[in-house]
């Protein structure tokens, strides 16, 4: 090793030790310290829209410093193959970034978790076989961590693929897993745990390692397959957390502190987001992962809607919107499905021009991932200070003339407050019913994800505009233009 002179301390008992010590050369310490600081700043700066893009820059530079530093430390490595890897990866990654429509962001996130987990699993496996059979073998402790790392990587890989498939509608949502799914899952987990213990005791059984990989892959499939499409965001966030943990564990194995830090940052981010989502839905982790939503106990649709639903045309809505003082738009999953955001923007412009105050009410779990609605509306050039969080806007519905609900359902369902037996009981909702008039744009009376009817649609002051989201808004705008 040409870098031996740079080293300042010995820390590894692993046979391939020399390689790992290099990360603790001056060069390694300096570049990894800088990269770690930049990653932290990156997340810090992301906290506010004003500094967020600086945060992305910091992350990019941090990554570049880390990679260049690593290449300089490990000069023994085959630069050719790394170059090949980087080129191929860029050729795949760049188009995915450039042409991915904003409505597909949830799928993209799932897919890239799969790639991240794949990388972790591959590297862990390579490291095992690299050490396996070497003079002093693998010590028990390292083996235990390595087994956990590869297991997490594998299950995150297949789990994320399933999540991707469900969100992209490649896997029908109706697939709910095998019979006795929970028993199978427990069986898989127990076998994986057992094999990990055996490997820890005698790390030499390479074939057991391969079995572990297979079990991990199968467990990921079985875990995510039965979960409904609308719960995917929570699952994706949890998988994000696992992927981070797996990177961190790899850092333990490889004596690489930057991996530990970046992995832990990633892991806590996934954890926090899934906690936020669960809290916004008033559900527990276990309920998301193993519970199935059960709509049997709530009132039937006929009871709720029977004869009480009033429907309206685009022209009616245009008339109602004429000359009002304040309008609040409530977007939901349907706006994303129908790609209505640009039409909404036209509506926003037209209302603002006429002196109407327009704001957007963003429920924390509207759509299919946290912040989903914000990204879509920002894409359509809505200024972000018009996007209000639930707590902020809820008190103002009383002073609102018209609330326009576009493709949202569960997040405006008053049953959450009134029916303790409903599956969304206790979930905080947007109180659109307090507005003078409520206009709901959706294609039918079919329920949202929770599968329950929505008394809002039958309320005294509600008008239904049954239409695809985008078409409805385009029509309303056209009708307003005509009337003017």
């Amino acid at each position: 090793m040409s870098n031996a002179a740079l080293m300042i301390g010995t820390i590894s008992e692993i046979p391939a030790g020399n390689v790992h010590e290099a990360a603790n050369s001056w060069l390694g310490i300096a570049s990894y310290l800088i990269a770690a600081a930049l990653f932290i700043l990156s997340l810090k700066w992301l906290s506010h829209p004003r500094t967020a893009r600086r945060g992305v820059r910091a992350g990019e530079i941090g990554m570049a410093v880390a990679i260049v530093g690593t290449l300089l430390i490990y000069q023994a490595v085959s630069y050719l193959w790394i170059l090949v890897g980087v080129v191929v990866g860029s050729l795949i990654g760049a188009p995915m970034a450039v042409w991915m429509p904003m409505t597909a962001v949830p799928q993209r996130t799932a897919l890239s978790h799969a790639f991240g987990a794949l990388a972790a699993a591959l590297v862990g496996t390579a490291h095992y076989f690299q050490l396996f059979g070497k003079e002093s073998g693998i010590d028990h402790f390292t083996m235990a961590i390595l087994a956990l790392e590869v297991l997490l990587g594998c299950l995150t890989f297949t789990g994320s693929l399933v999540a991707f498939g469900k969100l992209q509608d490649l896997i029908p949502s109706s697939i709910k897993g095998l019979p006795h799914q929970n028993a199978i899952n427990i069986g898989l987990l127990a076998s994986a745990a057992g094999i990990s213990v055996i490997l820890t005791v005698s790390p030499g059984h390479a074939w057991l390692f391969l079995v572990l990989i297979v079990l991990g892959l199968a467990f990921g499939l079985c875990l995510v397959m039965p979960i409904g499409g609308a719960d995917m965001p929570t699952v994706i966030s949890l998988l994000n957390s696992y992927a981070g943990l797996s990177a961190s564990l790899m850092g333990f194995v490889l004596n690489n502190y930057l991996l530990i830090i970046a992995g832990a940052l990633d892991g806590s981010s996934g954890l926090i987001l899934s906690i936020i989502m669960c809290r916004a839905m008033n559900r527990s982790f276990t309920n998301v992962l193993f519970g199935r939503m059960d709509a049997s106990q709530t009132a039937s649709a006929d009871d709720v809607y029977g004869g009480k639903v009033k429907s309206a045309s685009a022209e009616d809505v245009a008339m109602i919107l004429d000359g009002v003082r304040r309008v609040v738009v409530v977007p939901g999953y349907g706006m994303a499905v129908s790609q209505a955001q640009h039409a909404v923007r036209d509506l926003f412009n037209m209302l603002e021009e006429r002196g109407t105050e327009v704001e957007f009410a963003i429920h924390p779990v509207a759509g299919r991932m946290p912040g989903h609605m914000n990204v879509l509306l920002a894409e359509a050039d809505i200024p972000y200070d018009k996007l209000k969080e639930m707590e902020e806007i809820n008190p103002s519905f009383g002073q609102t003339d018209v609330a326009i609900v576009i493709g949202a359902n569960d997040v405006v369902n008053p049953l959450a407050n009134t029916d303790p037996k409903s599956p969304i009981a206790g979930m905080p909702i947007l109180n659109v019913g307090e507005a003078r008039t409520v206009v709901v744009v959706k294609r039918s009376l079919s329920p949202g994800f929770a599968g329950i009817p929505n008394p809002l649609f039958a309320a005294e002051n509600t008008l239904m505009l049954f239409e695809d989201g985008k078409k409805a808004i385009v029509d309303v705008v056209a009708a307003m233009k005509e009337a003017a």
Partner: protein, 96 residues
């Protein structure tokens, strides 16, 4: 293994991550997910390090695949985050 320092680093990073990310405005939760996704592609460093451990074909192939997968996330993750953030504006009149 030298576990102590690593556990300290893990503990501190987790606390720091929880602290920093709790402050991220809900407005930006989607970009946050793609940014952390890009940062977690730091496993490219692990791929390079393990590749340096030995040059059997098996090792090289696995690590190269690891580099490919991680690079996809680096390129894709940072890029799409920036694409999203570019769209967030306070005032309306910048485009059109």
């Amino acid at each position: 293994m030298d576990l102590g320092p690593k556990l300290f680093v893990f503990l501190l990073s987790t606390f720091l991550g929880l602290e920093v990310i709790r402050r991220v405005s809900p407005l930006l939760h989607t970009p946050l997910m793609s940014l952390t996704n890009a940062i977690s592609a730091i496993s490219i460093v692990a791929a390079i390090q393990v590749m340096a451990e030995g040059n059997t074909t098996f090792n090289t192939v696995l690590c190269t695949l690891g580099v490919v997968a991680a690079t996809i996330n680096i390129v894709g993750g940072f890029w799409i985050t920036d694409r999203m953030l570019k769209m967030f504006r306070r005032e309306t009149n910048n485009r059109e």
